[in-house]
């Protein structure tokens, strides 16, 4: 076994014993030592002059860290809603049978661990698994057998012969089995790109002019909340601070969202160019890309793109000959936490802490990374900003609708013939999109991921845009035979798992809601449970601290609205005074077994019927 303490010392040294880089240090120790053991925590705390509890708080927060030795190959199967519909259960059973362990366990030979994970951004090629940082898509039970046998004998990931995906997925630095499934390229994000053109144009203007241009384009954030980008930049520019930062949110954890993955694969230069322009506009010289741990397979490739941009004078000092303008970008890897997509949690994580959200205000534009003014934008927003500078605000504003200008990159998954990525101007209706993706007999569409809304056919005439159906990109299609309540229950599983646990309404409320929704699925619900769901949802929404808790009841609230009859159909009347959720026969069964006699009142007959 590798010596945890000495590995820790060495990794800390590699990062200059800088406690701000704790995240990278933990990632390094986990990778090299196979776990972050108690001795490692001691050693890291000592090397970084931190309290041990601070280190522990971060080390225990992220799903990808473990205090016990894991297998050499950690297999994480996505068990999110879409994968479940595509047979993740069969794949799980095959892994269990092949390895002889349950999920959460490690094989005796120390080779394999099995774990579940929420959406890994491969919903258009589900079921998908991560094996360490390698992605395997469209996994079948046959493939499971093959993977296990290969790894068992070869003992190295290099032996896995995976078919390489399209586009840059087969780039020598990526070599991933991932497919872009880029079905429609629009005029903004996926149009041909020449490095430096937008930046050159930006540098010929004053920074304040750039902000004016972005405002005139009416660009709004693509990460979900839709905040006007120009305004965010203006606030950051105006905020006092000796350092300023530009952050690119590439955490992409919202189930069913995978468009940022494709953007980073096919247009990383445009993303970095947008960040550089933002840096120029707000007066920042440092940028950070927060890349979700699930996309670590893109890291070497992205680093290479950054290196090439440095070499070409597009990053670094005196960029494109502009004296005094410097800007550089580092990539911060995450480690498996949905909440880190929330901007303040993301900043906590970049600072090397547990990914707990911070209380807003102050907003990042005033006090962000290291308490300095910080612009945070989604991957796609940075791309759009670069294009707007390149082609002008009216060009951009002429696309889409009045309140939602430009194009949107959608990631479509679920029951349709062509799942994948579509860049389409805002304003397209659900019906039109469904036709383009080859969806028939659609009964429900989940717009905006787990935190979004589920709509039924009566709303398919509505448009995708900020003031009708808003989405950060995720569109999940559900066809005939799917059960909206079971899907909503799957999303509640996600929130229960991903709540950071800081505030009670979110930590406890999500569980209460899931349990009560479960009663409908199990035929144990009564009419009053509808009221309970509504009331509890409101409490969770209003009393939670961050966007996760504030949106966690949405699967329930939106199905209560769109699929109320499904709920009503499940309500049970049992003809007794007992609640349908209480079965007296079942409650006494254990004791009856122990005592070897039937219950006095609630015998072997059905619950509630007196003997």
């Amino acid at each position: 076994m590798t010596d945890n303490a000495s590995v820790s010392r060495q990794v800390c040294g590699n990062f200059g014993n800088d406690k701000g880089r704790l995240m990278d240090i933990l990632i390094g120790v986990q990778a090299q030592a196979g776990c972050i053991a108690p001795e490692a925590l001691d050693e890291i705390a000592k090397s970084l002059s931190m309290n041990r509890v601070e280190v522990e708080s971060a080390a225990t927060f992220y799903a990808f860290f473990s205090d016990k030795m894991r297998g050499r190959f950690v297999i994480r199967l996505c068990n999110d809603v879409i994968d479940q519909l595509q047979g993740a259960d069969r794949v799980a059973a095959a892994f269990r049978a092949e390895l002889g362990i349950e999920f959460g366990q490690t094989t005796a030979d120390g080779l394999f661990s099995l774990a579940y994970t929420p959406c890994i951004g491969m919903s258009d090629q589900a079921p998908a698994v991560l094996i360490n940082d390698r992605v395997v898509t469209k996994v079948s039970t046959d493939m499971v057998r093959e993977i296990v046998q290969t790894l068992r004998t070869g003992k190295s990931l290099e032996h896995l012969k995976l078919t390489l995906g399209d586009g840059n997925n087969s780039h020598p630095l990526v070599r991933a089995m991932v497919n872009n499934n880029l079905r429609e390229r629009g005029a903004v994000v996926f149009a041909p790109y020449t490095p430096g053109v937008a930046l050159q144009r930006a540098l010929s203007e004053q920074p304040v002019e750039i902000i004016k241009i972005i405002k005139a384009s009416r660009l709004r954030g693509r990460g979900g909340a839709g905040f006007p980008t120009g305004m965010k930049w203006e606030f950051t520019r105006a905020a006092p601070g000796e350092r300023k930062f530009v952050v690119c949110n590439a955490d992409e954890g919202e189930p069913g969202t995978f468009k940022d993955r494709v953007i980073l694969t096919e247009a990383p230069g445009l993303v970095f160019e947008g960040m550089t322009i933002a840096g120029y506009a707000v007066g920042a010289s440092e940028g950070i890309v927060y890349l979700r741990g699930e996309y670590a397979y893109l890291l070497a490739y992205l680093e290479d793109v950054l290196a090439k941009r440095r070499a070409a004078g597009l990053l670094g000092r005196d960029i494109l000959g502009k004296a005094g303008f410097k800007f550089d970008i580092r990539i911060q890897l995450g480690a498996g936490a949905y909440v880190c997509g929330e901007e303040t949690a993301l900043l906590s994580s970049c600072e090397g802490k547990a990914g707990n959200p911070k209380t807003r205000p102050p907003f990042p534009a005033q006090k962000g990374y290291l308490d300095m003014p910080t612009v945070i934008n989604n991957v796609e927003t940075h791309c759009a900003a670069a294009r707007i500078v390149e082609n002008g605000p009216s060009w951009f504003a002429s696309m889409g609708t009045k309140a939602s200008s430009g194009t949107k990159v959608f990631s479509v998954s679920g029951d349709c013939a062509q799942p994948g990525v579509y860049e389409i101007p805002f304003g397209i209706t659900v019906q039109e999109l469904l036709a383009r993706v080859g969806a028939t007999d659609t009964i429900a569409v989940q717009v905006g991921g787990a935190s979004g809304r589920m709509i039924g056919p009566s709303e398919f005439g509505r448009q995708f845009c900020f003031d009708q159906l808003a989405t950060g990109g995720s569109v999940m299609v559900f066809g005939k035979g799917r059960d909206p309540l079971a899907i909503a229950h799957g999303f509640m599983d996600f929130f229960v798992e991903e709540s950071c646990g800081y505030c009670t309404p979110c930590r406890v409320g999500t569980r209460l809601l899931r349990e009560r929704l479960g009663r409908f699925l199990e035929g144990r619900a009564e009419a009053a449970d509808l009221d309970y769901l509504e009331k509890t949802s409101k409490v969770v929404k209003n009393a939670s601290r961050c966007g996760l808790g504030q949106t966690a009841p949405n699967p329930i609230l939106s199905t209560l609205q769109s699929f109320r009859s499904e709920y009503e159909r499940c309500i049970k009347k049992n003809g007794t005074v007992f609640l349908p959720s209480f079965d007296p026969g079942k409650a006494v069964a254990v004791a009856a077994g122990i005592a070897g006699r039937a219950s006095e009142h609630f015998g072997t007959k059905k619950g509630g019927v007196k003997a």
């Binding site: 959720s581 007296p584 409650a587 069964a589 254990v590 004791a591 122990i594």
Partner: protein, 182 residues
Amino acid sequence: MANKPKVATCSLAGCFGCHMSLLDIDDRILKLVELVEFDRSPINDIKRIEGRCAIGIIEGGCCTEDNVHVLEHFREHCDVLVSTGDCATMGGIPALRNTIPLRECLEEAYLKGPSVYNPSGRLPGDPEIPLMLDKVYPCHEVVKIDYHLPGCPPSADAIWETLVALLSGKPLSLPYGLIKYD
């Protein structure tokens, strides 16, 4: 007075502390007897509710089949049920066993505990002893409960105010001091 509203009370998996608190209304008990007639209650030892009751006061949660049976009986015969005290509303102290499987609880109590003397080596199985439930249930997880009165026990004043409000149909006012327990 023939048609005074009836009140019934019971103690399920409770300690009778809530009933003691009810008796703590002191001389107001005389006023209460003027207002209502007591049906089944440990206070008069009537075992089955004899007529339709306006109010049922429930102390304790459900730990055994008998508790469930009594609660069922109350729900059938009372217009309004009040879960009174933390045991009734949340399971209380008895619910501490809920994290331990029933068989383990019984074995610890009757076979393995350090002070147990049980030469027969058997768990009690006498039909006279009601079977225990798999866990302790607060009353509202068994039947519909109309009101919840917190406290261990709720103070005499809180119980009094609640009864008066229910009987007079006036809105209940429980000042913070009456439901504050820390």
